[in-house]
């Protein structure tokens, strides 16, 4: 295996991941608008392309060619860097997510993730913390009161829910014995009994807490106080326009996809699913299962947005600190005891 081959493989994977994320965002924005429209008895985008699927492309091109206004009072360098800082972590998180079954070319195993970090989960938690910087930088450097309010809310919210999110992942790591995402997917192969898939969904409290914290991490409704249009005029991105705003927008949707994909990988068996048919078909199927599960969760994201009103700030804080974190701590204790019993037997049996 030469260095040149490694470089080629990495380059192809990175480009493929980037293209996949961009295409996915185009589809996801349309998907959200359509589903919300359906839930509000509207039609939704229906002009650009069949069923309006090209609407996002049109909007993106419009944003690209619009003027990027720079208000007079901004701190220029952080103001310019913030959109990039928002997009980068979301792109980087996707690199460790396995989207399909590894396959062989000759005697080389090609994994369908850009890289399989052995600290994948920690890498994800670290990068999602970095994403807070973008919001804080954007709000502060805008030199305007509403963005500042939004970023103050963002820093408090994202840090609070990060804690719950990390705690929710502890039982998963204990059960799987690894923090590598490919490893976690491998653990979930096989079945309980004859047909029930052995997914980590058995850690139901972890799943629920992780997903709620994920919604809060991505600043989506009902936790979207960071960009509450009605109160603080869009929050941290109030002073951004044109392509700089588009980068924030892109980051938000990639983050949504990342959180859903991670929830699938960690709790819903990743790309595992019934595989049948000829070779090429059984190669496609895992990717299909992965995307299907991810889009089911993305539907829940949209469903939440269409259903729940925005939380008040004190409700958000008390929900995070007084409910989610104590419950996840309690759940860690329970799960640890259960796993310990499964592994070592009941404490009095060894006596």
């Amino acid at each position: 295996m030469s260095g040149w081959e490694l470089f080629l493989e990495a380059a192809v994977k990175v480009v493929a991941a980037f293209v996949l994320l961009m295409l996915n965002t185009l589809f996801l924005v349309w998907f959200e608008r359509k589903v919300v429209a359906d839930m509000q008895n509207r039609v939704g985008p229906n002009r650009a392309g069949p069923f309006g699927v090209l609407q996002t492309l049109a909007d993106g091109m419009k944003l690209f060619f619009k003027e990027s206004m720079t208000p007079a009072k901004v701190e220029f360098i952080p103001y310019i860097l913030a959109p990039v800082a928002a997009l980068l972590p979301s792109l980087l998180i996707f690199l460790v997510i396995p989207i399909g079954e590894p396959f062989m070319i000759g005697d080389r195993e090609i994994t369908l993730q850009v890289t399989d970090l052995n600290v994948g989960l920690l890498y994800f938690l670290a990068l999602s913390s970095v994403a807070v910087y973008a919001v804080v930088l954007a709000g502060w450097s805008s030199g305007s009161k509403y963005p500042l309010l939004g970023s103050v809310r963002a820093s408090a919210q994202m840090i609070s829910y990060e804690a719950a999110m990390g705690l929710a992942l502890v039982p998963v790591v204990l059960l799987a014995g690894t923090t590598s995402l490919a490893g976690i997917v491998d653990v979930q192969s096989g079945t309980f009994g004859s047909f029930l898939p052995s997914w980590n969904i058995v850690l139901l409290p972890s799943f629920v807490i992780f997903f709620i914290a994920g919604v809060a991490e991505t600043n989506r409704a009902p936790f979207d106080l960071v960009e509450a249009e009605q109160e603080i005029v869009g929050g941290y991105h109030t002073e951004y326009s044109g392509i700089r705003f588009a980068l924030f927008f892109l980051a938000e949707y990639i983050n949504m996809f990342n959180i859903s994909a991670l929830t699938v990988v960690i709790f819903l068996g990743g790309w595992h699913g019934p595989v049948f048919g000829p070779d090429w078909f059984s190669w496609i199927l895992p990717i299909f299962w992965f995307l299907l599960k991810t889009y089911l969760l993305l539907f829940v994201f949209v469903w939440l947005r269409a259903t729940l009103p925005r939380m008040r700030y004190d409700q958000l804080m008390s929900f995070g600190w007084k409910r989610l974190i104590p419950i996840s701590l309690l759940w860690i204790v329970l799960a640890t005891v259960a796993l310990g019993v499964r592994r070592f037997g009941l404490p009095w049996e060894g006596l």
Binding site: V35, N41, R42, V43
Partner: protein, 273 residues
């Protein structure tokens, strides 16, 4: 997702009491939004699909003429006075005695409506003593220049044969036939112009729509056959070719004739003065 399913199942709503109801009650909202996905849409695809307009729709104004071609406007400026948006400008002028324009002492020499300011409240129509200004069903009036939004008398006044004018050509959105559909305010309140309509509300005859039948179900409506709104929208009615309207058209409405006569007298007086 799993924790929401029981609450969002419309076939099996949680009971009103007990632990599960407390836990899943707040989740019923998810069932509401989910159900809406399968309901019919309330929006229509506008340019392709147009909703029928209400009878009393407030669209673009027209200035009417009597059936004999005289302008109804007498330049009294009541419309301009009542207009809350101050969008109407009228300047009256004495009728030239040899060729009177309207059957009154004066006529509307200048008549302009700024459609950008107009709020389409219809107070001008209510104020007008001669039913000269009425509203129609046409509302697609977008322009690319502010000055184009000021409708002058040439554009507002109908032709002597009843053809309405419009600054823009007819198109997929601009249906000029809508300009012939009068508004419902007049249909509901105008006094009858002839004996056959005693106790029945109707319009005085105009070049645009002839003598319009009263609305179905209005007082004394049973005396008049074919008192449906379609009669007013039928182009044949406007040109007086409909047989049932023909009958009412043979003799001009007394009101119109009287005012025409008055106009001549007034013209004479002005001439004397």
């Amino acid at each position: 997702m799993t924790d929401r399913e029981p609450g969002s199942d419309p076939a099996n709503p949680p009971s009103s009491q007990g632990f599960w109801a407390t836990l899943l009650g707040p989740m019923q909202g998810f069932a509401v939004t989910f159900r809406q996905m399968f309901r019919p849409r309330v929006t229509v695809k506008y340019p392709e699909q147009m909703r029928p307009k209400p009878q009393r729709f407030h669209g673009r104004h027209v200035l009417n003429r009597y059936e004999d071609g005289m302008e109804k406007c007498i330049g009294c400026e009541l419309c301009a006075g009542v207009c809350p948006a101050r969008c109407i400008y009228v300047r009256g002028e004495d009728n030239p005695p040899e060729a009177p324009v309207s059957p009154g002492e004066r006529f509307g020499f200048v008549y302009e409506i700024n459609m950008l300011r107009c709020i389409f409240c219809g107070l001008c129509v209510e104020a007008c003593p001669t039913e000269a200004i009425t509203m129609t069903q046409l509302f697609e009036m977008s322009v690319t220049d502010r000055s184009d939004a000021i409708y002058t008398k040439d554009e507002l006044l109908v032709e002597p044969d009843g053809t309405p004018n419009h600054p823009q050509p007819a198109g997929p959105l601009i249906d000029l036939a809508e300009l012939k559909i009068g508004d419902g305010w007049m249909r509901a309140t105008a006094p009858s112009g002839r004996a056959a309509y005693e106790g029945v509300v109707s319009w005085t005859g105009s070049a645009t729509g002839g003598l319009r039948p009263p609305e179905a179900g209005q007082s004394g409506g049973s005396q008049v056959e074919g008192s449906d709104i379609q009669g007013a929208t039928d182009p044949a009615t406007a040109t007086g070719e409909s047989s049932e309207d023909r009958a009412t058209w043979d003799e001009p409405p007394p009101g119109a004739a009287e005012s025409a006569a008055e106009g001549e007298e007034a013209g004479d007086e002005a001439d004397d003065g």
